[in-house]
């Protein structure tokens, strides 16, 4: 029987946050790209929380933007509230979070995709991978059509063999009742891919009109809104914002939950998948933190086109009747009308240690993957991987070497290195504590860190690149000026310092020295700095940070130097660990399993000791010398 047969460069499976970035990156880099989704109406869907960003996730979005991705621009167009978190802390942990209008977010992203050249969108389930001699050559759809391609990127999110569960109700659907993808897992397993089963959950959605907000605390957005994208003019997005609301669970809520634990599929064993510790269900919180008498609950709008409210902090898989009683026990939710029930979702994902840092499968050439399929959680983590997988898929076709960010360059680097190097037994969430060089990886300097790379890749246009170079130059010149500008000990200087709670000067000091005082800053010193040029806030913020925290930044840079030494030492792909003498058995097994690409990566594998690393270094050098002699 004859079937449809097509030829493309790239097949992207899935149109969630990973799929969108992957498809856009490939198409923008000139690849003929087709993106499959089980529902075109669900492109860039936010099936869980209605926000983008947050601690460390905000960093990811800024980095995606700095490399030429879409997520930052899209949330700037569709947010309804915005907040910079941790402003009282150091600049490295400032983090942007915006509430999205979910439907606008989805619609807006869909328009971008539709208008992108080289990009086709197709509503169809991909059922099978076509792999010949460990090389991916195409995919087969459920309808039997064959799409021959040079590379494919799997971004299947939570759809693979998905099952939604609450109480004794279990439905074989993806999130939000969408069709699950039930065939691809088998094809992956057939090709030797090792699968895990993970679980996550979402809370109920409640009708706004049934909520008594007078019993809750209002949570407003920031007065001055900072955009996610470096390309968004801050002035263009200052707008009226919606509020979120804070309330708390109480002993009664916890009692209802405890009494019905036996009916929870989590505790009865119906759910097999491993859930995230970061985002526990309310029943999980009550059990694990039994000493806590209350938990925070945030009520957040799903958008401005709907009255549905997201009940943040109370995800659950308890039965429907228990859910109703549980939500009703929370102040302000006594008469809540539940529009959508809370549920847990189980899905297939992979053990990401099967991937290279480029996100290509080690064992199947041309097959890439990104997002929740790789065992991560969160829209931002997914988008970041999607972008990198997309870039590397295109580069593979172009015959260029893979684009890899290391742990000292970006949160994206930390994310991917963790995913492919460590054993993740739960959905992986980005956290600021995972980034060991975070003082350098700030959200405010993502453009300086990454936009040059984005330009080299081809996702950043010349105009944006030139703008960055100007910014860098301005920062450099201004730092040099304040380091050389001496402030005397005149009376007005002493008065000025005194008025800011700062001790007077015995002898002349530079502006830079004063900026380093905790009670002062670049901005405050404007009064005693008449020679100051007119500069954008973007520039002056950098000047302030780079001077104020100079000592810490220097130290971190020295750490990075040490780290890079090991990262630069590559392990040849052809290495035979059985041939390396004196490795401990555990190390040998782990190294064989992970196939690390550098000594640095090898050193991060649990079970590989410093002595094993020494042995490995000597062995590699020996082999190098031997080859040279031949």
């Amino acid at each position: 029987m004859s079937r449809l047969e097509e030829y493309v460069d790239v097949v992207v499976v899935g149109a969630g946050h990973a799929g969108c970035e992957a498809a856009l990156a490939c198409a923008r880099l000139g690849m003929k790209t087709i993106m499959f989704t089980v529902s075109v109406d669900s492109i860039a869907l936010m099936p869980c929380n209605p926000n983008i960003g947050g601690s460390s996730k905000g960093h990811l979005v800024r980095e995606i933007d700095a490399l030429g991705g879409e997520m930052g621009k899209n949330i700037d167009k569709t947010f309804i509230q915005s907040k910079m978190l941790n402003v009282s802390k150091g600049p490295a942990v400032h983090s942007l979070r915006a509430q999205a209008d979910k439907s606008d977010y989805s619609r807006s992203m869909r328009r971008v995709l539709e208008r992108t050249e080289n990009l086709m969108i197709k509503q169809m389930e991909v059922a099978e991978l076509i792999v010949e001699n460990q090389v991916l050559t195409g995919v087969r759809t459920l309808s039997g059509a064959v799409y021959h391609c040079k590379v494919a990127i799997l971004c299947t999110g939570t759809y693979l063999k998905a099952r939604c569960i609450y109480g004794d109700v279990s439905m074989h659907t993806g999130p939000n009742g969408l069709q699950a993808a039930n065939y691809l897992t088998d094809s992956l397993v057939k090709n030797g891919v090792k699968m895990y089963r993970f679980k996550t959950g979402t809370p109920a959605r409640i009708a706004r009109k049934s909520i008594d907000f007078s019993k809750m605390e209002e949570q407003k957005g920031d007065e001055t809104i900072v955009p996610f994208s470096f390309t968004t003019d801050p002035k263009s997005i200052q707008k009226e914002q919606v509020s979120c609301w804070l309330t708390y669970t109480n002993e009664k809520t916890h009692e209802i939950i405890r009494e019905n634990l036996d009916r929870s599929p989590l505790f009865s064993g119906v759910i097999e998948g491993t859930g995230p510790r970061y985002c526990p269900s309310i029943e999980d919180k009550v059990v694990r933190f039994s000493d806590k008498t209350k938990h925070q609950v945030f009520i957040e709008p799903e958008g401005i086109h709907t009255d549905e409210m997201y009940i943040d902090g109370m995800s659950s898989s308890l039965p429907e009747d228990v859910q109703v009683r549980m939500y009703h026990s929370v102040p302000g939710l006594e008469n809540a009308e539940i529009v959508r029930n809370a549920y847990a979702i189980e899905y297939d994902c992979i053990d990401a240690r099967q991937l290279k840092l480029s996100l290509e499968f080690k064992a199947i050439s041309g097959l890439f993957s990104a997002g929740q399929f790789n065992g991560s959680s969160g829209y931002e983590e997914a988008a970041a991987q999607g972008l990198i997988a997309g870039i590397n898929a295109a580069r593979k076709i172009q015959g260029k070497e893979a684009f890899i960010l290391d742990r000292s360059e970006a949160y994206i680097g930390v994310l991917i290195d963790d995913l492919v190097t460590k054993e993740n037994l739960e959905p992986y969430r980005m956290m600021t504590s995972r980034a060991e060089y975070r003082l350098l990886l700030r959200q405010d300097n993502a453009d300086i860190r990454l936009t040059k790379k984005g330009h080299e890749i081809g996702l950043i246009d010349d105009c944006r690149y030139q703008k960055l170079l100007r910014k860098e130059k301005e920062i450099e010149q201004e730092i040099s000026r304040v380091e050389k500008t001496y402030i005397g000990t005149r009376g007005e200087i002493q008065d000025f310092l005194k008025s800011h709670g700062s001790i007077g000067l015995k002898s002349s000091a530079t502006l830079a020295e004063l900026i380093r005082r905790p009670e002062l800053s670049y901005e405050i010193l404007a009064e005693i700095d008449p020679g100051r040029p007119v500069l954008s806030k973007e520039v002056t913020d950098q000047v302030n940070i780079l001077i104020k925290y100079d000592g810490y930044l220097q130290r971190q840079m020295r750490q990075v130097e040490q780290f890079r030494k090991l990262e630069k030492k590559e392990i040849p792909e052809t290495i035979d660990y059985d041939d390396v003498p004196s490795l401990r058995i555990e190390a040998r097994q782990k190294l064989k399993l992970y196939q690390p690409s550098s000594i640095g990566q090898a050193s991060r594998i649990a079970g590989v000791s410093p002595a094993d690393i020494s042995v490995l270094l000597v062995y590699i050098e020996k082999e190098r010398q031997r080859k040279r002699h031949e």
């Binding site: 978190l85 460590k422 995972r434 003082l439 042995v615």
Partner: protein, 460 residues
């Protein structure tokens, strides 16, 4: 930040008391500049030509540590192909260790096992054919270092370090949880609380550092077991040894086994005395167990002191134990010489062998103890008792790690005093945590993430 210049004791010091401290790396010459003084006080090692030898002194501040000969070998004409300085020490094992210690405090770091050889190879100084041997050396030395750094660590020290790490990890987890979830967890007033905790920790770390000079960190020294039947006078012997005008280094009740440990110094030779449980139990039932314990202890010991009650006859049990000990480094003490002797030196020698030294002492009257001391010294310098030098360098490594941890915590204090935001504490808290981890052989891994999740209810 750790410098990349390494130092270690490169020759055996146990037997001769003469040893060489070797320093290699970019900073080798300047490290030695900081601790070396020539006779006229004018010579600088960094200004000396390659392959020259210089007489002088190693100074620790104003204090003279040892009279030395310093050899300068500049890169690339040295063993490692880096700048290398070798310091020949003459003042015995104690001063060799002091010299190493001084070098480490002046900017070198303790070498990893086999690191000189590794550098030599990676810098192309060792022939390819030797590479396999290099790997074996690293492997073997590391196995030993691992064993010694972890198993030689005294139970009580280990416990303290585990506690300190726990405290640091808790602080880290709190800060990090608050940074990740600022809407749930507040850091208000935390800086002051942390300051107090860090100050206490600093004091405790200082105590550990001070004690490391006395070998309290590692069970450094000759592992010595005192065996004997109940009432043979073992305990009074121990007391007598300790009561004499000798440095009592430590007194720790073992945490994992029912063993009492004492370290005492005999004119610079450290004895690590282990008083086994079997001996302290006095019931007859124990006799059989006693023999087995004796065997077991003797296996592990560098030196066995077997105490016999001279006022009673040796019985079958004594004979059995002595037969076992005949193969070991053993000194037999005929105790209770103040009473009428029933058992004589000759009778003992008949059982255990002619070459075994048998000394007549009275623990009660404290006579003959000088003979014991002399005998131990003799056996030590004759090379009959030895122990592995690697312990010295391991101890230096532990001490360096403790100092590193202390420096990191001092930086935390500075951050607090300079009113830095809380997220700046983490970098140094984490450094302190991982430095302490090196001592007990534990890496950081996912500790922090796990601690955060186990203690804080995270996630909106």
């Amino acid at each position: 930040m750790r410098s990349d210049t390494i130092a270690a004791i490169s020759t055996a010091v146990a037997n001769s008391g003469i040893g060489i401290v070797r320093i290699s790396g970019d900073q080798a010459l300047s490290v030695v500049d900081r601790i070396y003084r020539s006779k006229d006080g004018k010579k600088k090692i960094s200004e000396q030509p390659s392959h020259t030898i210089h007489y002088g002194f190693i100074q620790d501040g104003d204090e003279m540590v040892d009279e030395v000969l310093v050899t300068v070998m500049r890169a690339p004409k040295s063993y490692t192909a880096e700048d290398v300085v070798e310091i020949n020490c003459h003042g015995g094992s104690y001063s060799v260790r002091r010299v190493l210690d001084t070098a480490i405090r002046s900017g070198a770091r303790p070498a990893e096992p086999g690191e000189f050889t590794k550098r030599a190879f990676l810098n192309g100084r060792i022939d390819l054919s030797q590479a396999e041997a290099v790997i074996d050396v690293i492997h073997a030395k590391n196995e030993f270092a691992l064993k010694s750094s972890v198993s030689q660590l005294k139970g009580s020290v280990r416990e303290k370090i585990v506690q300190h790490r726990k405290l640091i990890l808790e602080q880290l987890a709190f800060v990090e949880a608050a940074l990740d979830d600022p809407e749930h967890i507040s850091l208000d007033g935390y800086a002051e609380a942390l300051k107090q905790k860090v100050k206490q920790l600093l004091e405790q770390l200082q105590e550990l550092i001070d004690s490391s000079d006395n070998g309290r960190i590692l069970k450094e020294g000759i592992q010595t077991v005192i065996l004997g039947k109940p009432n043979a006078g073992k305990s009074s012997l121990l007391n007598a040894l300790l009561q004499e005008d000798r440095a009592i280094v430590t007194e720790v009740a073992g945490t994992t086994r029912d063993v009492l440990e004492e370290t005492l110094s005999l004119n610079g030779i450290l004895l690590n005395l282990v008083d086994t449980a079997g001996i302290r139990i006095t019931e007859d039932v124990v006799e059989k167990i006693g023999v087995e314990r004796a065997k077991e202890k003797a296996e592990q010991a560098d030196l066995v002191i077997y105490v016999v009650d001279a006022s009673t006859e040796i019985d079958a049990n004594d004979r059995e134990v002595m037969n076992v000990l005949a193969e070991k480094k053993v000194i037999v003490l005929l105790n209770k010489s103040d009473l009428i002797p029933v058992t004589t030196t000759e009778m003992i020698k008949e059982v255990i062998g002619k070459s075994v030294p048998v000394l007549t002492v009275s623990a009660k009257e404290q006579t003959g103890l000088d003979l014991l001391e002399g005998q131990i010294r003799k056996m030590f310098y004759d090379g009959k008792i030895t122990f592995n030098d690697e312990i010295y360098i391991t101890n230096a490594r532990q001490k360096a790690a403790l100092t590193q941890a202390k420096n990191s915590l001092e930086k935390v204090l500075t951050s607090i005093e300079n009113e830095m935001p809380e997220d700046f504490y983490s970098i140094d808290l984490m450094d302190a945590y991982s430095s302490l981890g090196e001592i007990i052989g534990e890496s950081v891994g996912e500790d922090l993430i796990n601690e955060i999740f186990s203690r804080f209810c995270m996630g909106k």
